[in-house]
């Protein structure tokens, strides 16, 4: 199938994107973000438990706007919009560096969509209703492969039992339920919906660098799951297949978040170079300032182009989606890292202070750079893909 020239980004998608940008500008501006996540450096640096800093009212409004329903198929009561729309929304979330469970929920949604069972449908209906979800499974041992998980499962006639502990679960304290990947004794991977207050489930919040995020290790101490919550069975590793099918979307969503934040970093750094004067000149005059900012722009643009292409491929040409999504995630991870580094350096002393907003974005970018694999990780996989194509 051929891809549309415009990435499938039509008037409907543009309306959504523009509305999201305006909503976040009005309801989650940088001043509010600063007050929310960076008001007290002591809390961030010294407290034993990561403070949970997010605006639940904004989240409720986002649910009312239909953002959680966006990627849910119409059959489960959602809007069934294209991945290009989801990517555009994720980009706006990144631009606002919004602390919210939306990205985690969109990722869980991508996995649930691919599972396609009644149990998955029930979960998706909950998401439409505003339940935040998070995907728990990969991340241990540095693997993000579709069958990666550190949880064990035993399925039986009346459900399943989960045991083990999984690191790096996103937005764990905001999630109403988890989509958990777990491996059975034969090596098959299944998917299970588990309420965050299920007996035997323990959330151990991490102390994370990123002030806009909530992350935890989640422990499962013989957590019982009913048959109606088996999203994909471990028999035949059906769960791993669903995750594999969702992987391009997962990578694309994280890449879009990185791109949005990187664009903010580019514009904010350029703005500073337009107003700050030294040696009687605006510092943007100096090519040691000007050229790195241009290089950031070139890298951000590459990442954005690839992210839109990956999203469009998921919608229209699935066979080429994985390679493009890995390229998008690699390019966005590197662009985010480079934009971060230059945003601090080119702000000078003020850029090194807690008071200046750039550190909030730098920390979010560093988090997303490694989540689901950084540039070198993706490129190792891409080398296999282009070898096969060559």
């Amino acid at each position: 199938m051929a891809q549309p020239k415009d990435f499938g980004f039509g008037s409907e998608e543009q309306m959504l994107r523009d509305a999201a940008r305006k909503f976040l500008k009005d309801h989650a501006p940088i001043e509010k973000l600063r007050a929310l996540v960076a008001k007290d450096h002591k809390l961030a640096y010294e407290s034993a438990v990561q403070p949970l800093a997010w605006d639940e009212r904004v989240w409720k409004q986002m649910v009312e706007l239909g953002w959680t329903a966006l990627a849910v198929p119409e059959s489960a009561g959602g809007a069934g919009m294209k991945t290009i729309a989801v990517a555009a929304l994720a980009e706006e979330i990144g631009r606002a560096a919004l602390p919210s469970p939306l990205i985690a929920t969109l990722i869980a949604t991508a996995v649930l969509r691919e599972a396609g069972t009644d149990a998955a449908k029930t979960c998706l209906e909950r998401v439409v209703g505003g339940a935040a979800a998070s995907f728990a499974g990969p991340g241990a041992e540095g693997s993000w492969l579709p069958d990666a998980t550190s949880i064990a499962v035993t399925e039986s006639g009346n459900g399943a039992v989960l045991k083990g502990s999984v690191p790096f679960v996103q937005e764990a304290r905001k999630a109403a339920f988890f989509v958990v990947a777990a491996r059975d004794a034969k090596g098959g991977v299944g998917l299970y919906a588990v309420a965050s207050d299920a007996p035997g489930l323990k959330i151990l919040p991490d102390r994370v660098v990123d002030l806009t995020r909530d992350q935890a290790r989640v422990e499962f101490d013989d957590v019982k799951v009913g048959t109606s919550a088996i999203v994909a069975s471990s028999t035949g590793s059906v769960g791993a297949k669903a995750v594999a099918a969702a992987l391009p979307a997962i990578l694309t969503i994280v890449a879009a978040d990185l791109c949005g934040a990187a664009e903010w970093q580019l514009q904010t750094t350029a703005e500073y170079a337009r107003v700050r004067t030294q040696f009687d000149r605006l510092i943007g005059f100096f090519q040691a300032v000007k050229h790195p900012i241009v290089n950031v722009m070139i890298d951000v643009d590459r990442a954005r182009s690839l992210t839109y292409a990956a999203a469009c491929a998921i919608d229209t040409e699935p066979e080429s989606a994985l390679c493009l999504a890995r390229m998008a995630k690699a390019a966005a991870s590197d662009a985010g890292a480079f934009a971060s580094s230059r945003s601090i350096q080119l702000h000078g002393g003020i850029g090194f202070t807690w008071e200046c907003d750039v550190h909030i974005y730098v920390k979010r970018q560093k988090h997303n750079q490694f989540y689901f694999g950084d540039g070198p990780y993706q490129r190792a996989k891409i080398a296999q893909l282009i070898d096969r194509a060559a």
Binding site: F7, R17, R274, N295, A380
Partner: protein, 396 residues
């Protein structure tokens, strides 16, 4: 089928049927290294044939020798690229002189100069750069002094690609010392067999020639060859540069071979080359480098696609102005990685029977600097991007 689809079909069919036999001699990587008379004859004959078949000059008005169509040239260009037929030698004529004359020339100039240019009967060169006017083009000093109906030209142009084959030059001259920018005037100047004109080849780092220095000593040029008004040379030159940059994006990709194919070539080269006793393709760092380039190739392709999707571009010039920088640096880095893959075999140059891929990679590497320097060096391009797109203070 629309008129455009029909034309595309036609181009495909014609190119399949008329592909020229490979020459018995070597052709250089790009038209601006064409050196010998036999190369010139082969390439001019091919270009003329394309013109006669309607694949060149399709969008020019009929009265100037064109096809009188709209939107055909892009299609013909794409199909020539796809078919991997030889490049067009009269590149400076086609991509710079003709559009400049069409925009700024008199009716007589259009009728006299454009038809033989399109037919590759007359080759063109560009005389902008001088020893002391490169990036700072407005510093051009070659002088034109009025003498009745004529102008007398004196001066020194450098890096003049194709001047050794050229009938005509588009030339920036100084007609007044009072103003830097408004003291420039643009001319069409005869080069071949012209009294007072000396063309001397300059040798490139590859060992090839292809560009020249051109000396002017009391060269007489009729006023009828002046393009646009006296003192308007800077404006006319900007038109030429606009088209040059567009052409440079294409030229940077190096005569026909698609960038995807270059990545496939790197993979194949890495499988054949040995590194630490194993195929280089098994080396994680080599794989990483090739994957990085594959990402840049795909990113560039998707950037070209996004350029035309207005709601996803933010600023109209943001992506177009990046194109020359990204393609020229990509070509350079592809060649540099090829040398890393070859390891010690990268020491073998064209002509060595043992050189992998006929020694094309060291040649491509050396040659790649032409494109990061010419058509506005990449440093100048970065200034332009920072200033026009991001509003940073002008460096001048």
């Amino acid at each position: 089928m629309t008129e455009h689809e029909e034309f595309r079909e036609y181009c495909r069919r014609w190119l399949a049927e008329n592909r020229p036999a490979a020459p018995s001699f070597r052709l250089p990587l790009s038209p601006i290294e064409v050196m010998t008379e036999e190369q010139r004859r082969y390439l001019c004959a091919w270009e003329k044939k394309c013109y006669e078949a309607g694949l060149i000059g399709c969008d020019y008005p009929k009265e100037y020798g064109g096809g009188g169509h709209a939107g055909f040239q892009q299609i013909a260009g794409q199909e020539m690229g796809r078919a991997q037929v030889p490049y067009l030698i009269n590149v400076i004529g086609l991509s710079m002189a003709a559009p400049t004359i069409l925009n700024h020339g008199t009716e007589e100039q259009k009728r006299r100069f454009i038809p033989p240019l399109l037919a590759a009967d007359e080759i063109w060169c560009q005389g902008f750069s001088e020893p002391n006017a490169g990036s700072d083009l407005a510093n051009a000093q070659a002088s034109a002094v009025r003498d009745g109906d004529n102008w007398i030209i004196n001066g020194h142009k450098v890096w003049t690609s194709l001047a050794h084959f050229a009938s005509w030059m588009i030339m920036v001259t100084r007609t007044s010392n009072e103003h830097k920018y408004n003291g420039l005037t643009y001319f069409i100047v005869p080069i071949a067999n012209t009294k007072g004109v000396t063309v001397r080849p300059l040798i490139k780092i590859t060992g090839e020639t292809g560009f020249n220095e051109v000396l002017f000593e009391d060269v007489v040029v009729p006023d009828a060859y002046r393009v646009d008004e006296i003192g308007k040379g800077w404006t006319v030159a900007m038109t030429t540069l606009l088209y040059e940059r567009g052409a440079a994006e294409g030229a940077g990709s190096g005569g026909g071979i698609s960038l995807d194919e270059r990545i496939a070539q790197l993979v194949s080269l890495a499988k054949r080359s040995r590194r630490d006793g194993k195929p280089a393709w098994e080396d994680a760092i080599i794989r990483d480098r090739v994957a990085q380039l594959a990402i840049r190739v795909e990113g560039m392709r998707q950037g070209h696609r996004r350029m035309r999707v207005e709601p996803l571009t933010d600023h109209p010039m943001r992506l177009p102005l990046q194109a020359k920088v990204t393609v020229s640096e990509l070509m350079q880095d592809i060649a540099a990685v090829a040398l890393e893959i070859e390891g010690p075999a990268a020491s073998l140059y064209v002509g060595d029977p043992g050189a992998p891929d006929n020694g094309q990679w060291p040649l491509a590497y050396l040659n790649s600097y032409g494109f990061t320097i010419a058509a506005g060096s990449n440093e100048i391009q970065r200034n332009i991007l920072g200033e026009r797109v991001l509003g940073l203070a002008k460096s001048k």
